[in-house]
Structure formats: C-alpha cells, structure tokens
Assembly symmetry: C2
C-alpha cells in the first residue's frame, strides 16, 4: 500500500448515517484497492450495515465510537465533552497519523472545531476555511469560505484569498489565479461593511492577482478562479447552486413530457442532457477539504448519499497526492503564490 | 384614460441607457393604449433615439433632465446635489402626483435614497425593502430584501417579514403565507449574529406564519412564500438565480449540439424547452417595487434591455391596481396580515 491511503470515515455523521455512509465506504474500496477505510461509529450499528455487502475484508475495519455528535449540538461543547464520538476519535486518528484523512458528513460546526482543536492549524492560519470547487462554464472555481466561520473579519477574508490562490496554483495548476470578492455591484464603493473594509486590503496584497468585485450573476460564467466571501454568503451560494441545478433539471424533464413531439425529442437528447447536467452537479465533487490544517479533513454535505461518500473517499487519494496542506504551509508565510 | 397609468421612466439609468430604455418605452405604449410614459432624461439624446420609432405620439413625452446620476456615485450625495437628474426629477413627479409610478434601471442606491427622501416612507416603515418575486417549482416566492439596505438590524428583518406577508396575502392572494429566514442550517442554533438575533423575534410575531429557517437549497422548491434576508444575501440569491439559469440554458444548448442524435432531438424539444425555461427566467418579472413608500417606485436590473423595461412599465398597471403600498399602509401598523 505504498501509494494507498487510510481514511477514517465518520459512520454516524449526516442525514443518511449509517446506511449510506457504510455503503459509500464499500463502494469506494470496491473501486480502488489502495484504499483502507476505518468506519468510526457505533460498532453494532455499523456491523449490521456492513454485513449486507461483499468487499475485500482487509480494506475495511470498524473503530468503535459509542457517542454521536448531533447536528444541532453547540460544536465547541460537543467536541469537548464527547471524547468517544466518531468525530473526536476520527480526528484523533489523523492527529496520531493512524489515518491519512478524516471524512465526515456530520455537523459542520463540530468538524470545523474538531479540525482546529484536535488536528490543529498550520502556524499563521487564523481560520481554516472550507473551500469547495464549484462548476462553471469554463471549468471550476474555488468558493472560499463555505464553512461554519460566520461573521468573519477582513483579515480572515484576506487570508482566504491567499490560501485560495495557493490552492488554485499549486493544486489545480492555474497560473496567476484571478481572485475576486463577492459583492452586490462591480464598483469599489458598493458592498456591506465587511466588503468595504476588505476591498482595499485585497488591493494592497502583492502576492495575489486581485481583480475586484464579482456579482453572483457572474460566478457561473467562471470569471474568477478564487471567489472570496464570508461563510454565510458562501454557504448560500453553494446551496443555491445545488438547489437550482436540480430544480431546473426537474422542471426541464417535466416540460419535455408536455407534448408527443417533445417526448420523442426527449428520448433522443437524454444521454447528451444527462452528461451536460452532470458537469454542473456539485455532488460529483464529493466533498471539500478544510484548508490550513496540519492534517487532511474533508467535509461532505449533510445530505450525502453513498455516491457522495464514495467520491469523497476516492478524492482523498488525490488530496493526499496533491499535498494541499503542505503547499499551504510552505507558501502562506512566504509570498502567497510562492 | 380612466384605468390608465402615467409612468415616469428614467431614460438615463442602466447599462443600456438611453437606447434600450427608449425602445422599452415605445414597446410598452405600442402594447397598451392606457399607458403614458414620461421619458425623463437628456432631451437631445432621448429625442435622437425616439425619432427612430413609430408609436402613438400622445403616449410618450420627454421631460428634460440635464444631469445624470452614475452607478458609482455615493447615493446620498448624488440625490442631494443633482437636482436636475432623471432620478430626482422623476421621483418628484411621483411626489407631485404628476406621475403614478417611477421606473429606473439606474443606481440602486440612488433609487433607494430618492424613494425615501423624495417620495417618502409610509409612517412606521423603517427601511423600504426591494422585494422581487422569484420563480420556484410551485409558483413564486417573495425575496425580501434585495435592495441597497446592507447591514440591516434584526428589527428591519422583522418588518420585512410583516411587509412580505401583507404583499403575499393582499397582492398575490396567498392565505396565511409561510415566512422563512435564509439560514445556513435548519436548526435555530445555526446562523450568523444577525440571524440568531432575528430568529426569536420572528418566532414571537403573532401576525405572521413563521416556519423557521430556510436553506438556500430549498428556495427553488418554493418551500416558503416570503423569504426574509438582509439585502446583501438577497442580492446574491437574486443574481445567482439569474446567472445560473442563463448559464445552465447555454450549457444545455451546447450539450445538445454534441451529437446528430441529440441535434434532431433538440429541434423537437425546442419549443417546450423554451417555454419551460422562460418560467424560470427572472427577467419576465421586469422589476421589483420598493415597498413601504407613499408612491410607486420600481427598480429594474441595471442590465435591463428593452424587454425588461417594457415589462416593468406594463407591470406598473398591475401594481397600481393592486394598491400595494396602500395595503401595506393599512396593515403594517395594525396586525400584519390584517
């Protein structure tokens, strides 16, 4: 398992745990023999699910975690009190290097707090952002931050811009990535207090390619490689992306059933349409890494099914190869884009 | 012209002024003989455009306004200094009852400030919100606020919830409209400081049907009739709606051209697809009224073309009949849903 990866998976996190999570783990190890998954969760429940499937036995093991952190729990308290929860135990495995990555569809807040408190931040990182790649007309853009870091300060957004630039340059391979801040108008004078304070600071940054404001309308056109915003706004953008794409797909499908003519047409276009809309489906991307930690922590949607979990696990192989956090560590304290 | 309307139109506002604005006015009067449009703007420029078209001459007149308020100008200063601008003159026509409505694609900030300072607020209204109807799977929802009122306070959001309920009940005709606040999770504990402070206040409101948080993912499904948020978030939602719908349409079109099979299918589905996607095109709705003023002020997108301007003018007929602001006035200070 030279090139393999050991993934600690939160078997109890998310709306469809443990069923879909366990199925996702099975699908992942069946897809790639270089993956070992530790299913961290309540042993009896996880075993019951796992029994249904066939898979290479040596690729999955169960780590018993008797406690469960619920989505509604205040995160700081939950991480502090529930030492035997899947999130705390899984994070500890990353810290102790027993696992290369931790993947969870559970409480965003608890994953964020656990990442900082247990795994630990890279020196100099103020707030580790959750930064998913979102599909655009031109490819992908990095939306930074979508985490639970609400009510950020200008200095946080400036650091997100730097971290995002490092990611897009060193991981995605885009030279001189364009950085823009989400705003309600193109002019520098526009915006809320946070954006107005942050804008001049970004302009002064010599180590990023800041191109100014971006209106939400322009995001799907791929006008910026790194889209900087505070987490509340980022969360709204990410979730509206998902909701609107799936709603439009449904609306189009129903519309096509409205006449015989279009029904025949629909049969003919089905493969092409499916392929096209898949390229705009955020779930393909599986999960988003929490950037700026000393270990790899990946958060997937709370609503993740087996496919998203499988994709998030497979993605960890890439994240590990790309050495994301190592690259952030080596570049954040020098000149941003290194 | 008993049932007609007189609309003062900002001929100088928006990215495509005065060309598209003048064309929109011509299209509107050609579509409906009960409309009179005052084109407020630089006389020579407006005349030059208007000369190209044929229309009932008695339905359009020009009001000379030598000054122009640019989008980048600080709004308060612009309204105070540029007394001969199209926005100030047009708003004054509404105030003096020389016009029934003012329509502008110009600076949101200036329209908002002008609406408050020149036209005036209904007694008891703290901040007049800009509230467009957005398309959903089930029909339409009111997104309140999308204006230039950034950094709102909890009391503003509570009033938006009340105003939105009145609008959806008395104007759109939905009994007991469901009100939700945009949030990053379904639980009451989630959110930024503003949402956390506002949530309990909304829960206490007896005159609205508050259903809790709504995640952006659920907005296109039409889960709430009144979607409450502060203007920065509302603006992001509205513009991402536009951007993503048009981008997905383009992506689908290009996808369909990828094989002969799907090209034939595309020809067959074209009419149905067009019809379907039109129902999700926000530009059909033309503009949004600024709610809570003593007169009718409608803001359309800065990027409005002739179609949006035409629709916004025609919409004023409906807004006038619906007596939106009269209904807000009669209900806001009593019991919300009256």
């Amino acid at each position: 398992m030279q090139k393999g990866i050991k993934v600690a998976l939160d078997a109890m996190g998310g709306d469809h745990a443990p069923q879909e999570i366990v199925k996702g783990a099975v699908d992942a190890v069946n897809a790639n023999q270089n993956i070992h998954v530790f299913l961290v969760g309540q042993k009896d429940k996880v075993e019951r699910e796992l029994k249904q499937y066939s898979y290479p036995l040596e690729q999955i093991s169960i780590v018993d975690a008797e406690e469960v952190i619920e989505t509604a729990e205040p995160p700081v308290m939950a991480i502090r009190k529930k030492k035997k929860s899947s999130i705390v135990l899984g994070m500890n495995m990353v810290k102790q290097k027993e696992a290369d990555a931790f993947v969870s569809a559970g409480s965003s807040g608890a994953v964020l707090v656990g990442g900082q408190v247990i795994v630990g931040r890279i020196k100099g990182i103020e707030r580790p952002p959750l930064a998913p790649l979102i599909p655009t007309e031109k490819g992908v853009s990095l939306l930074i931050d979508c985490g639970a870091n609400v009510d950020a300060r200008p200095s946080h957004l400036v650091q997100f811009a730097k971290i995002g630039s490092i990611y897009m340059k060193h991981v995605v391979g885009i030279e001189n990535p364009k950085v823009a801040i989400v705003n309600i108008g193109a002019e520098e004078e526009k915006g809320n207090a946070l954006v107005k304070e942050t804008f001049p600071l970004l302009k002064e940054c010599e180590d990023i390619n800041f191109t100014g404001s971006i209106e939400a309308r322009e995001i799907p056109h791929g006008e910026a490689d790194v889209i900087v915003c505070e987490a509340f706004t980022g969360n709204v953008i990410l979730k509206l992306y998902e909701g609107l794409s799936s709603t439009l797909l449904g609306v189009v499908k129903r519309g096509l059933m409205s006449s015989l003519r279009s029904k025949i047409g629909a049969l003919l276009i089905k493969p092409a349409l499916k392929e096209t809309l898949k390229s705009f489906d955020a779930s393909v991307y599986g999960g988003a890494p929490l950037l700026g930690l000393t270990g790899l922590v990946v958060k997937t949607h709370g609503s993740s099914g087996a496919t998203e979990i499988r994709n998030a696990i497979l993605q960890c192989l890439t994240f590990k190869e790309q050495e994301i956090n190592e690259k952030i560590k080596n570049n954040i304290n020098s000149s941003g884009q290194g």
